[in-house]
Amino acid sequence: MKTRGFTSEQILNQLRSHKDTLFQTDASEYRWKGFSDDHLKAVQAIPANIRRRHAIIAASAVCAALAVVSLSLYVLIVGVPAPAPETVVPAVARQEVLEESDWYMESDSWEDILDPAELDMEDTLYAIPQVEQNLYIMEMQLQWLAQPQW
């Protein structure tokens, strides 16, 4: 041994060579003293538990097969279910904005209101909802300007 003490390998070897003493397995305290009544009942109940388990597995398989058959029949009779429709709320909101923007489309002063030079064409092309929102704001501003005090 070059250094003081043991290496890990030496410790493992020492433990292995003394394992019967260190990890006693044949001491009288370790001897099997037999089953209690609960153990005996548990052992005797094993065949019944196995039968019950098999019955549960078989029942589960039958249920799964029935589910597959039912679904197949439904598809055959009713047809493939339609894909889920779009969510309602955004569609309605979009329709409202479009209806409000119609006022500008029908207005004679449309060209006067919007100066094409000031429009950012990229935004207009790729952000239509933003344009619609701006139109709505302009409508509100016009309504405010149209009030009698002006």
Binding site: G5, I11, R16, T21, F23, V43, Q44, N49
Partner: protein
């Protein structure tokens, strides 16, 4: 009549054969009890082992083969031993129990080294002690220990490394003390 192999015993137990169950438990008992006793001490180990057997036979209908049953037994016993250890912190108890058992069987060996080795194992944390017990007592590989205790192989290797490091330090300090005295 030859020795009945574990698989035959397993099949007989599935038919509710009490004698086969008794033979199988008798075959496993001392190793399993020794493993649990290293964590908790022999008195608590006896109770844990009895409870584990009861759970084993209540769940026996779910096992695919004998190895599955044995892994279940070790994992259940280990978990119960660790739970009990946490509750009672039986460090001192395990120490005294093992020491008492050793005195009768250490004749002819280097008793001082044996005593130091025993103390080195005893001071280990319960989880490291369990891993070392399976490695030394059962000659399990890290993978087999991982399967039996239901922990990752990396954790097993880490615990073995830590345990050996602790034991190395303990034995070195003991050697220094002896040199000084």
């Amino acid at each position: 009549m030859g020795v009945i192999d574990d698989t035959t015993l397993f099949n007989l137990i599935r038919q509710g054969d009490v004698t086969a169950a008794d033979k199988l438990v008798n075959r496993w008992h001392s190793m399993f009890t020794g493993f649990i006793a290293r964590i908790t001490g022999i008195d608590d180990a006896a109770d844990i082992v009895q409870d584990t057997y009861l759970t084993l036979f209540k769940k026996f209908h779910t096992f695919k083969n004998i190895n599955h049953a044995r892994r279940f037994m070790y994992k259940t016993g280990y978990n119960r031993a660790i739970d009990l250890y946490r509750k009672k912190r039986t460090h001192a108890l395990a120490h005294t129990e093992i020491k008492r058992n050793m005195t009768g069987s250490s004749s002819g060996l280097d008793s001082r080294l044996l005593h130091d080795l025993n103390n080195a194992v005893t001071i280990l944390p319960a989880k490291e002690k369990a891993v070392i017990a399976l490695k030394i007592q059962h000659d399990f590989t890290a993978r087999e220990i991982a399967v039996h205790l239901g922990i990752p192989t990396g954790t097993v290797l880490y615990r073995i490394h830590n345990a050996l490091k602790t034991m190395r330090q303990f034995l070195s300090s003991r050697q220094i003390q002896e040199d000084q005295s």
